[in-house]
Symmetry: none
Subunit: 399 residues, 2 copies
């Protein structure tokens, strides 16, 4: 379906705003109760829902719990199963590392080995992030001819390494043996294409082990999830949009850049995002505004705090409306019910607000209300075409 | 979408029960009236529907009336159009014949020919099943070197033949000319792979004609639908489930075995199925319980009797609930409205009951109520992923 869009797009100056409350979909705390979104007092959302078209979307598919990156790809109009994003890339994007096409990223675990080189702890006693940062500093002394190398801390014992150079490939197998009492695997090419990179990873490990000598418990490292940036056509190319991301968290700037968005730096909160929206209003046609804390509070299991975050975003809505967007789409990238403390596969409520929409039975913004909306349960990738159409950015198909 | 599931499944001990009322979907007897399911008094179903998520499913696709085998494949999570099951195999499974990979099965019609060998009646005057069984007995004298041969009655003038041996193939065309006044076709290979089998079928026909000499009206036979077992990956392999079928009718044990299920033998009725469910509870993670008579009564055009069968199954529900399944899915493999006396293409009501489900507007189990449920009308193959997800058997997709 997405394939026909690229022959139909019309460039115009109409503005689309996608407002994402991360993990907004929820569940009632008790049987017969309300979800987080149904509980929240959201007069702005409700007014928009009453005027707009509502429904629920499935970011990936029936029963599939979305990770954040594929959940967002779906919202941006890209079928996530067509663009798998490897762990190394996710880790690099997650810390805001400006990964480039041709780079190969891999996850690194600091680990503990015995005198024979056998792994005794795959997580080096779960060293804190500060220690991890210090060790990354140490490893920045690794030098491999013809390759630029970046190693940066992620969290606790986890880091990410990025190799940059000619002829690299992610066709390299994990070195993590996924067990203790054995030596790590040597990095091995999974196809001839990966041989150069496997060799480079081998040199990186050998030099690292020397540098880590005596730094027990973090005297070894394991590599996993070698990955390159997937080739994703940009939103400019694919849909004729000039897109910009207004996100506080690096992960979401990362995934936005994957599809060719600019990303505004140094945003701290919704106020900053409102100011950035105003400042950038004339320069773009597609604005992705991301709020992280609905998901964070869901993962904390804090129902009330998630309700509070939703209410905060509701109060942010007037700063969008005063700019008079042609199309406003409000939704989430997945559900994170506080009662589950995790992402879930439940469909995600959405509301689409624009001129010339069908009135429907959804009078407020909530899971049950959206289930009564026009669209029922639809694929997440359908939302971008709906928004493009509402912004008159799609030509007629056929005569 | 199904393709990503096999990379996501998580083996755990949670139990899924699929309760199928064959052909449960129905239609009102009179305008403005209720369907069979809406008429039936089903306090257990209704309580589950009120707590669970409801909707309607399309086993094959819009407007397509499902046969029983593809209807069940969809419920088991296999897109039925990816796994066509040939008529010969359906016939063999239908009579509970233990067909094996490499076997070739074909449908046989007993027919009448004149002295020149031209078909005068393609159904041999619709001889009764007993006569058919007698003729199959006669034909069991056919002997072909290197081939095991099974011929068994199906119903009326219809039988099934199974060839077992090395190098057989279903690339053989029908011999049935679909007309009278002409001679049957010789069995002809549709590709070089089918030549050996075509020759064997030719010998089978030649010997059969001698044995049927003088047995007017059944003095000829026509062969149709040469078919092999399709290769279907098992539910163990595909979804990490340990599945068992609790079905009274051989057809449903047959289709279950196609996807790697064990099938409990010698079940006579719902009481026996309840006992078998209890006895096998600790040994499996997926239980398929099948009730045939909702469909049979629908095909009989007996609205009241179908209502009665639905009520019987409702009374069976407590024997499932006392085992505390983690996920209970109640639905049918297709609709068989009594007013139509046949399978129909109408979507089939379903209810999903588990922890952590979205409340929806379906307060009872019926066609109209399910249409107000969370899911609307979804593909039948979506039900297995929804059940897997509700049983926490699917990992997150992407990071």
């Amino acid at each position: 379906m997405q394939d026909i869009l690229k022959d139909l797009f019309i460039k115009n100056e109409k503005k689309i705003v996608l407002l994402v409350m991360d993990g907004v979909g929820g569940l009632p705390r008790e049987k017969g109760g309300k979800t987080e979104l149904e509980t929240a007092k959201t007069p702005n959302f409700d007014a928009l829902a009453a005027e707009g078209e509502c429904g629920l979307h499935l970011p990936i598919g029936f029963g599939i719990t979305p990770g954040s990156a594929p959940g967002h790809l779906a919202l941006f109009g890209y079928p996530p199963t067509d663009y798998p994003i490897g762990r190394g890339v996710v880790a690099a994007l997650g810390i805001g590392f400006p990964i480039q096409p041709g780079d190969v990223a891999a996850r690194v675990n600091f680990a503990t080995r015995d005198e024979e080189g056998r792994i005794t702890d795959r997580r080096a006693g779960r060293i804190p992030t500060e220690k991890c940062a210090e060790l990354c500093q140490v490893l920045s002394a690794v030098s491999i001819p013809g390759v630029e190398l970046f190693i940066q801390p992620v969290k606790d014992y986890r880091a990410v390494v990025v190799f940059r150079g000619e002829g690299l490939s992610d066709h390299v197998e994990d070195t993590d043996p996924q067990a203790t009492g054995v030596r790590p695997h040597d990095p091995k090419a999974s196809s001839p294409k990966g041989e150069k990179t496997a060799q480079i990873a081998g040199q990186f490990i050998a030099q690292s082990l020397e540098l880590l000598e005596g730094r027990h418990p973090a005297n070894a490292l394991l590599m996993r999830g070698f990955a390159e940036l997937p080739h994703i056509p940009s939103m400019q190319e694919r849909f004729g949009l000039d897109p910009v991301a207004l996100a506080v968290y690096p992960d979401y700037k990362g995934v936005s850049r994957l599809v060719g968005m600019d990303a505004v730096e140094d945003l701290q909160d919704l106020d900053g995002q409102a100011a950035a929206l105003r400042e950038n209003w004339d320069r773009y046609t597609y604005f992705f505004v991301h709020h992280k804390y609905t998901d964070s509070k869901g993962e904390d299991g804090d129902f009330e705090a998630k309700v509070g975050e939703i209410e905060k975003v509701d109060r942010f809505v007037p700063s969008i409306l005063e700019l008079k967007p042609d199309v406003l789409l409000i939704t989430g990238d997945h559900s994170t019910p506080a009662v589950m403390r995790a992402h879930s596969a439940h469909p995600v409520p959405f509301l689409l607000h624009a001129e010339n929409l069908r009135p429907d039975a959804a009078g407020e913004f909530g899971e049950r209300s959206c289930a009564r909306g026009l669209w029922g349960v639809i694929p997440g990738v359908a939302l971008l075409p709906l928004a493009l159409s509402a912004a008159e950015k799609l030509a007629k198909f056929g005569a």
